[in-house]
Symmetry: C2
Subunit: 327 residues, 2 copies
């Protein structure tokens, strides 16, 4: 920096000002500095800057789910890429933190609360995840992806309108003439689990029967397959099923095929997420699209606001029905 100052014929202070917005820097000085920087190949030392500003210009992307379950979900990729890019636009880097096991959670928690990062994007499906409390208690700026059950009031978050998405799908199934519509829900301690079930109930009203509802304990293909198998026992007369995630729907498809039911002729299948599997399976899934790119952008926006001292906010984004072959 002293070199640049010497070459440009100004002081360190002026360089610093030029680098940080250029307020109160004359045009000729600005130009001389620009040239000097180019000539010397100078690049700021972010560590030195961070040392005084107490800002790291980085945020953590915390994946807090046991065993990389979430990692199996192809949607997650999209979210991660979206956040990285949205942050890059602000010259902020994303550091990835995985908090699967209890030890990992502790280490991530410590990492985030010790000022290594300016804030955190939290992806965690289950309610009661202690990391939410830990981060919130320590005053770390956090925005969650999906409604943070148990922290709706005090944590910023952005979520897709799960409930409405479910309504759209079930409505669609009914409009196509399906009469006995079952559902496979996600775990009921996750927002996707309760909300999508809620939407199902909204549409069906008093037509809902317990035997038509099966809850999977995780959002995996295997869990979906098991749930569908169970459903075929409790409700062999079903002619449609709304599955709360595409991955589970892929499993349901396999179970149906094994049972000799044709999709969509005998049983219509509706998924949720519009993840990559939706077009990989046969038949391709009719599903509900979450606006993932927008979700990531909003998450980043909220987080930057939070870091900027603004109060936590929540954003709910609309979902959209995608018609393919399974319904």
């Amino acid at each position: 920096m002293d070199d640049v100052a010497a070459v440009a014929g100004v002081s360190r202070g002026t360089i610093s000002r030029a680098l940080n917005g250029g307020r109160n820097v004359s045009a000729p000085a600005m130009e001389a500095i620009r040239k000097a920087i180019q000539q010397t190949g100078y690049v700021v030392n972010q560590h030195a800057r961070s040392l005084v500003t107490q800002r790291s210009q980085s945020v953590a992307f915390i994946l807090s789910e046991p065993q990389g379950l979430l990692f199996e979900d192809p949607n997650f990729n999209v979210l991660l890429a979206g956040c990285t890019q949205a942050l890059a636009a602000h010259d902020i880097t994303l550091v990835l933190a995985i908090a699967g096991s209890k030890e990992e959670r502790k280490r991530v928690s410590r990492f985030v609360t010790s000022g290594h990062v300016d804030g955190a994007l939290l992806v965690s499906a289950h309610s009661g995840n202690p990391i939410m409390d830990e981060l919130h208690d320590r005053g770390v700026p956090v925005v969650a992806c999906g409604v943070p059950l148990g922290h709706e009031r005090d944590l910023a978050y952005v979520a897709a309108d799960d409930r409405d998405g479910a309504r759209q799908m079930v409505q669609y199934l009914r409009d196509r003439g399906r009469r006995t519509i079952a559902t496979i829900t996600g775990p009921l301690d996750t927002p996707g689990g309760v909300q999508r079930l809620g939407g199902y109930q909204d549409v069906l009203g008093d037509q809902v029967e317990d035997r038509l509802i099966v809850t999977a304990d995780r959002y995996t293909r295997a869990a979906g397959e098991a749930a569908m198998t169970r459903l075929l026992e409790t409700a062999p007369d079903l002619d449609a099923v709304f599955v709360a995630s595409d991955l589970m729907a892929a499993g349901a498809l396999a179970a149906l095929r094994r049972a000799g039911r044709r999709v969509p002729e005998d049983v219509a299948v509706g998924g949720f997420d519009d993840s990559a599997v939706a077009t990989t399976v046969e038949p391709a899934l009719t599903t509900i699209r979450q606006p993932l790119p927008r979700i990531s952008r909003e998450m980043v926006r909220l987080l930057l606001d939070l870091i900027d001292g603004q109060p936590p906010a929540a954003v709910i984004l609309p979902t959209e029905l995608v018609r393919r072959d399974s319904a």
Copy 2:
């Protein structure tokens, strides 16, 4: 730090030593410092430390592929998670960098070369990616995932033994009595493209015919489907096909089904990667497993060695045949 020093009754220097391995620190001092740290809730300021050590304790994970093509690959998740965790064990954080477009590549290149990170893990399928040269020229410690075509000599890398994997698969197909074995290769400017084709040729020797080989321009499901369709025209008599990636194999399966060929009865299909799609499709894919967790560990090990001043090395890891239903 001064607080800790005061409480523990020692000097800053001793604290620093205690924090960095504890050499030349007496047991009582060590203990006093431990207590003082706990009492004061002290955490080191990584920025201050980095400022003097010139080490950031972080590495970049560079995803350099246009349009998030690689991102579509479920394998990528596993690699990313593996690297994050392997690094965490060394108290090093992973920062994610996406260099899809040309501008992004420039920005990532600048970011990495300006000392924000101590090194980089590079995931890029195509040869001739300028980022390889840029990073190598600037002397940044880099280890690539997969053979870095054009930089085999000067860049560290770890790769699966693609060629041998392909051999295993083709050999297996032949052992099962298949006579007319075709192949769908990946792009020939990628290591997976050339090596897996090489393995195919190794086994088939002079039985290879041009009409049995089709090259896809990308590793996607759609490209696999298109390639299979083409193959059914040039070689309608085929009774097996080795597809250079699971994602493409999923596409090939769809094309075969559309053409009325049964898998595996009429046509046996062999994939490559053992990625998540392998068990999602019907029938489940017989494929070649890449030891992804081990690949990530090795990448991290090589990178740390490199940062430590050691010369670049290459590691080739064995692959393994996974038998399922498609062959």
